[in-house]
């Protein structure tokens, strides 16, 4: 999902202001993709410029707010995008990959700690999403709810894969550590022999 198409999809449901869009986006992205207001507004500006949405003003308690509406062209763009299969595999854009690349093999303990903390964070996040899913399941099923449920599932399946990968990393790092230790021992023994 791109921010652009996410916003188009949200506006296809109903007109909304920037603040509502940000909240709705967070809801769909399941808290696993941080978009800030800056990104939301710069994407909105581009969508307006491209004629995919229009802005109108609403008066909220004396404060003027801009409300956005999807255009016919925007709906077409969104539909075209929906119908196209996604060729891109999910990018590994997590910070942890970059950290891992730079940290190993200099400080194994630190990296193990980082992996564990990351895993715990994911578990806590997954519990939060699961809670949402459970409450949703107990409200009975409208179509919108099913869609939200499926999106939460997507976030959970991805997070589960990440947790598995993190565990896998830990196990491999630990294993590697003991191999290195054995190698070091062997080298010592060779040294003694000479």
């Amino acid at each position: 999902m791109s921010v652009k198409h996410g916003l188009l999809g949200l506006l296809a449901r109903k007109p909304q202001n920037g603040y509502e869009l940000k909240n709705a986006f967070d809801e769909i992205a399941g808290g696993f993709w941080d978009v800030n207001f800056g990104q939301i507004y710069s994407t909105i500006d581009r969508l307006v410029k491209d004629g995919l949405i229009t802005a109108s003003s609403e008066d909220a308690e004396g404060v003027e707010r801009r409300v956005y509406q999807i255009t016919q062209k925007g709906i077409q763009e969104f539909k075209d995008w929906l119908d196209k299969p996604s060729a891109k595999v999910r990018p590994l854009r997590d910070e942890i990959f970059v950290k891992l690349a730079f940290m190993y093999p200099f400080d194994k303990e630190a990296i193990l700690q980082l992996l564990a903390e990351q895993r715990q964070l994911y578990l806590a996040k997954m519990a939060e999403l699961t809670r949402k899913k459970y409450l949703l399941s107990r409200q009975g099923g409208s179509r919108d709810m099913l869609m939200t449920d499926l999106l939460l599932d997507a976030a959970l399946f991805h997070a589960e894969a990440d947790v598995k990968w993190l565990e896998h990393c830990e196990a491999k790092l630990r294993g590697f550590e003991s191999i290195q230790r054995e190698e070091a021992l062997e080298n010592d023994e060779i040294g003694l022999d000479q």
């Binding site: 564990a116 715990q120 578990l123 997954m126 519990a127 589960e160």
Partner: protein, 234 residues
């Protein structure tokens, strides 16, 4: 809220040839009434052993297990089997069904053994049978059911006695993800509606996320603890 279960400095030691092996190596843990605890950890880390000790199916080598504030080590065999019959619903890793009884008979068996079989309790059992999706299989024998269906019989049997503690060992081990979700929602209902305390051993993170708290065992010790969601306990 009161502690439903307390595990204090528990060791479980097995002999391996001449050597001693600590399946549990000093575990302390408190579980609040109405809490849902998920226990993760690699194979052989002591998860099932811990569950067995809490369910009074086995005794620690040293240390104590308390249920509702009562130390199990002070209880005689009769009192222990009463706890097993009335307080604890056990969902086993291997389903432990009686091969000559139908699904429904297996499910009703603990009620009958406890002398708690009545129209009311059997009606509740039938509700559970429906909730786990076994209505059409209730008169099948275990050998006539799939692994997933047997798993559901095991779950229904544990829930039918309305235990105050549910101990579940890999309750979704043989189920596809959609069915797993249904079973886990059902366990969550037990917690939410009936304030049952749940301790669930589970491999995958997606299922563990149903817990309010997730602990990880490693080599018979608690390696880490994640407070997942506690607002509903406060």
């Amino acid at each position: 809220m009161a502690n439903k279960v307390e595990v204090k400095d528990v060791f479980k030691t097995y002999k391996r040839g001449k050597a001693e092996f600590h399946a549990l190596n000093g575990i302390s843990l408190s579980i609040k009434e109405g809490e849902f605890l998920a226990v993760m950890g690699p194979s052989g880390s002591g998860k099932s052993t811990l569950l067995h000790l809490i369910g009074a199916l086995d005794k620690p080598t040293s240390g104590e297990v308390f249920i509702d504030g009562v130390s199990l080590s002070l209880l005689g065999d009769d009192a222990l089997s009463q706890i097993r019959r009335e307080k604890v619903g056990f969902i086993f890793q291997q389903f432990n069904l009686l091969p000559t009884l139908t699904a429904r008979e297996n499910i009703l068996l603990p009620l009958r053994i406890a002398g708690k079989s009545s129209r009311e309790t059997e009606r509740y059992a039938d509700e559970v049978i429906e909730a786990v999706g076994l209505t059409n299989w209730s008169s099948n024998l275990p050998e006539e059911m799939s692994g997933g269906q047997m798993q559901r019989v095991g779950i229904a049997r544990a829930l039918a006695i309305r235990p105050s503690i549910i101990l579940a060992d890999e309750p979704t081990g043989n189920l596809d993800s959609k069915t797993s979700e249904e079973i886990l929602n059902l366990l969550k209902d037990c917690q939410e509606q009936f304030k049952q305390t749940i301790i669930m051993v589970i491999h995958d993170a997606k299922a563990a996320a149903y817990g309010d708290r997730i602990i990880r065992l490693k080599d018979g010790q608690i390696d880490e603890e994640v407070e997942a969601y506690s607002a509903n306990l406060i």
